[in-house]
């Protein structure tokens, strides 16, 4: 066993941390809350030039062939600095769908510009009746000659409001909940009949409702064989959940650090409030929870690339549950220990609280992953 980062990874971590500290202070995110896109396309381009987007793709697809542990290092920094650029939506969700299911031509057409930082992507999978189950696909894709007609609605599509290209799951056979019969289609944003309605999310970021009202797409826009996309979506759910664990760890670390600083400076009853044992012990409980979430986040980061899907699910679901338990505790107590100032929009701690809540829900909440963990053969 070895949990140390390699010298290269340590360098990566410090480079990312110092770049983001300078280029993406929390004040930048604050201002972007009012922006219709909600992030900076020029900073996205810079991130691509730094190789961060390529990190997640193999060299065969034009990437740098990094591991998920490398990606997790980046996402932890995103969490600590509330960086809103759509890495998870573009790279891990839609990017993985194209990488796994797409042809060499589709890689060239969609991944190359993504890795160059010229585009962002989104994966439209969630539906109103399915909660966190990606096999609950009511959206249909009906074959019509050399084309498909897509009909349905997708909700809370991360980066759906601004993506240049969307990947959409639709049913080519079977009924909602069936593993077989789900296909993926890649659609340029300007596709006729594709309606994108931006949606604000609690954390100050944005998503979209995607309505497909008889959208006609050529058969060539299908990713991979017809009806066989469920395993790809299952892997993406795990990548997204593992990403939430890494980003959430950054959120927790920042929340703990801000809270400890506050306890060291705020005075009441003529003394620093950090001298009070009740508050010290609460801060220690936050610290313990952060260390536990770190431990399971590492587990998820390593196991998410395991060739055995059962191993992958077991570890990632465990980590996502632990994230929920720990993240909720740490950010709620962070607000509590800040007192009244923690309830104001003006103070950053509330932004972390909100981001944590969103991360807990994305790619499956605590109940979803508890049930999934309990359903694995290893349980």
């Amino acid at each position: 066993m070895n949990f140390d980062l390699t010298p290269d990874q340590k360098l990566l971590e410090s480079t990312m941390a110092s770049f983001l500290k300078k280029e993406s202070p929390v004040s930048r995110f604050r201002a972007l809350r009012e922006d219709p896109v909600g992030y900076s396309k020029s900073l996205w381009k810079t991130m691509a030039e730094l190789g961060w987007i390529g990190l997640a793709f193999p060299e065969s697809a034009g990437g740098l062939g990094g591991s998920f542990v490398d990606v997790a290092i980046l996402l932890e920094q995103f969490g600590a600095g509330l960086v809103p650029e759509p890495f998870v939506a573009s790279v891990l969700a839609a990017g993985t769908a194209i990488l796994r299911a797409g042809s060499a031509e589709q890689h060239e057409a969609y991944l190359a510009p993504l890795i160059a930082g010229d585009t962002t992507l989104a994966l439209a999978w969630a539906e109103r009746g399915g909660r966190y189950d990606p096999t609950w696909v009511e959206t249909t894709a009906t074959k019509q000659g050399d084309a498909y007609v897509l009909q349905g609605e997708k909700i809370f599509v991360q980066n759906g409001h601004a993506a240049d290209v969307l990947v959409v799951s639709a049913r080519t056979a079977g009924t909602p909940g069936d593993t077989d019969g789900i296909s993926l289609f890649v659609l340029p944003r300007e596709t006729e009949g594709l309606r994108v309605t931006p949606v604000n999310t609690m954390d100050g970021q944005k998503a979209a409702t995607i309505t497909l009202a008889g959208v006609v797409v050529p058969a060539a826009s299908r990713l991979g064989p017809e009806g066989a996309a469920a395993p790809v979506l299952d892997e993406i759910m795990d990548l997204g959940a593992a990403a939430a664990c890494a980003e959430g760890l950054g959120v927790m670390r920042a929340s703990l650090a801000m809270t400890v600083d506050y306890l060291k400076t705020r005075e009441q009853f003529g003394v620093k409030i950090g001298t009070f044992q009740a508050l010290q012990h609460r801060a220690v409980d936050m610290f313990i929870r952060t260390e536990l979430a770190k431990s399971t986040s590492i587990l998820a980061s390593v196991k998410v690339s395991d060739p055995d899907p059962a191993e992958r699910r077991f570890a990632v679901s465990a980590a996502k549950v632990e994230l929920a338990i720990c993240g909720r505790y740490v950010t709620q107590q962070a607000i509590q220990l800040h007192g009244g100032i923690g309830i104001t929009d003006e103070h950053d701690i509330g932004l972390y609280f909100k981001r944590m809540h969103v991360l807990n829900a994305l790619f499956g909440d605590e109940e979803h992953h508890l049930a999934r963990f309990g359903a694995q053969p290893a349980f």
Binding site: M1, N2, S295, L370
Partner: protein, 393 residues
């Protein structure tokens, strides 16, 4: 990042597991299968078997009989012994006074005491707490005064001296200077339990077993050569103990074993004809507990891997005692809840409740001690608040 054990480490795990299966005498094996309560003679029998294999004190230096096992192998050995339900050895000689004598004792003391601890020929108990010195240990009062003839005379009382009724020796913190600041007037003595004036009176614990004692000292004469470390320097020894062997304190093997028992009971217990393990709410609760155990286990693995690489203990190691005791307690609590009415049974004749459940109620009770002994969890949090978070006093 590499979360796997090496093939050599896995082979060692197999070796330990196979050896335990072979070496465990039938009577101990039967009790282990149901997590029964081990009597003192059974614990010492197992001690001697482990000693025969050279595994009784793996953390001691080789020249004093240690097992020449690295950090990870020591962890694997501990984990496998816990997983097998083997009797937990008395820690007072092997884990506490032994390492202190090694670190602070004279050569004569090492030669006199260490081999007998190792062989299980002398059993030790710990004399730290007093009726008015618990978490505030430094306010202890047991007095040790020189008699002018090369001896010290001890008067006072120790409490929670676990298994003093079976002990040959006790190590005690005593007050040798009543005028100094309270931490500066403490000395560390080794006392033969057969010395006139020493009385150990067992008291029942909430588990219904006589684990604790009150130990009284009335004009107990102790030779000066039994002082370990400098006179009035005992507080250094008391604190040193807290830094020992933290990596093995989380009892993940034991809690993993209890989790297995929870699942076993939940599969055998039915509600309206359905095994509890298949009732979604129960399954989710058990899953949640298993995940919390995984988090602790991963934190423990981080601490071991870090120690193996020679790093100083990181922040993750400070949480192991707190979290290990909490998980252990919650795991027994879950077992009790799964048992339903059976959890109400208290030391009844065998067969009253299923054999797999019988040990749970007493263990559920005794597990409350885990968050108190060895520095209560509140004391641990005081330490973390200052040492790691840097909060003001």
């Amino acid at each position: 990042m590499d979360l796997s054990f090496t093939p050599e480490q896995s082979a060692f795990r197999d070796e330990v597991r196979a050896w335990i299966r072979e070496a465990m005498p039938p009577r101990i094996r039967e009790k282990a299968a149901v997590d029964g309560h081990f009597e003192h003679d059974e614990i010492m029998e197992w001690h001697r078997i482990l000693h025969g294999k050279g595994w009784v004190a793996p953390h001691w230096p080789a020249e004093w009989g240690g097992a020449k096992l690295d950090v990870t192998r020591r962890f694997i050995l501990t984990e496998e012994l816990e997983l097998a339900g083997a009797p937990a050895l008395s820690p007072f000689g092997l884990m506490m006074v032994g390492p202190l004598i090694l670190q602070f004792g004279s050569d004569a003391q090492r030669k006199r005491f260490l081999p007998k601890i190792l062989a299980g020929e002398e059993v030790w108990c710990q004399g730290y707490s007093e009726p008015n010195a618990g978490s505030d240990l430094a306010s202890l009062k047991l007095s040790a005064e020189p008699d002018g003839k090369g001896n010290y005379v001890l008067n006072g009382q120790k409490t929670w001296t676990t298994y003093a009724q079976y002990a040959d020796w006790i190590f005690v913190l005593t007050r040798t200077d009543k005028t100094a600041k309270k931490q500066s007037g403490i000395s560390f003595f080794l006392v033969d339990m057969k010395t006139p004036g020493v009385t150990a009176r067992p008291t029942l614990t909430i588990a219904g077993t006589p684990a604790f004692c009150d130990t009284f000292f009335e004009n107990v004469v102790v030779p000066a050569e039994n002082l370990v470390g400098p006179l009035h320097g005992g507080w250094t020894l008391a604190k040193a103990l807290l830094g020992h062997e933290r990596t093995y304190i989380a009892a993940v093997g034991l809690s993993t074993r209890t989790l297995r028992r929870v699942k076993q009971i939940a599969a055998a217990t039915k509600e309206r004809g359905v095994p509890l393990i298949d009732v979604p709410a129960w399954r989710a609760r058990i899953a949640r507990m298993e995940i919390e155990l995984w988090a602790l286990k991963m934190a423990n693995y981080r601490a071991i891997a870090s120690a193996e690489l020679g790093h100083a203990p990181g922040p993750e190691s400070s949480i192991l005692k707190i979290r290990g005791s909490e998980i252990m307690q919650q795991m027994y609590e879950l077992a009790m809840d799964v048992m339903g009415h059976d959890a109400l049974s208290w030391h009844n004749t065998p067969g009253t409740i299923p054999e797999a459940e019988a040990s749970v109620p007493p263990q559920f009770n005794y597990a409350r001690a885990a968050s108190i002994y060895g520095g209560s969890n509140e004391i641990q949090k005081n330490v973390i608040a200052k040492a790691i978070l840097g909060l003001p006093s």
